[in-house]
Symmetry: C2
Subunit: 95 residues, 2 copies
Amino acid sequence: MTLKQLEAFYWAAKLGRMSIAAPRLHVTYATLARRIADLEESVGAQLFDRSSKPADLTSTGRRLFPLAGKILDLKEQISNEVVTVPAAPKYVELR
Amino acid sequence: MTLKQLEAFYWAAKLGRMSIAAPRLHVTYATLARRIADLEESVGAQLFDRSSKPADLTSTGRRLFPLAGKILDLKEQISNEVVTVPAAPKYVELR
DNA sequence: GCTCTTTACGGTCGTCGTAACTATA
DNA sequence: TATAGTTACGACGACCGTAAAGAGC
């Protein structure tokens, strides 16, 4: 399980179509579908039902969705809170 | 930023020494140190103060620590809640 | 027929472990 | 000197994009 895989799954689920999620993550269809397939293998269950054409979430996928969202929120929180200026920004010269 | 990097950082910080964290994650010193260094580059700041020998956390590292813990908790939650038996286990044949 | 998704293939990049090196206590 | 951590290096594996194929609507 990787953050990229969770990100791919999350946006595909949120946007409903992989074809829309792919450019949003700056990758091709193939890459996005592969990341989701790898996540499914890692989890051991199908996350999307491919029988319908705009692929729909399975029950497992619906269970994973909010958890994936939380992880991505935390990742963004790290990017925002940790990367920005530290607690003692007086005359500190970074690097 | 990857889950492996956060995991390396989290356990090194929690256990105090990289030399103890490394075998816990089933990797060598070199691999663990590299993952942490990569995370530092990704974050753009030092996480450990290498001037003291058992490396100590910087202020940025102390800020990252609880967030990393939350992400790893969520990862484990996914492993526990999502991987287990689905909602309709009647006569469904997986695969 | 058209759109959405998967698979095959080739190339590139990342990541790992071993081993040698540096530095602190 | 012994222990903690980093760097160099070679090899293996992962990942991406292009292109072609398969499957609903």
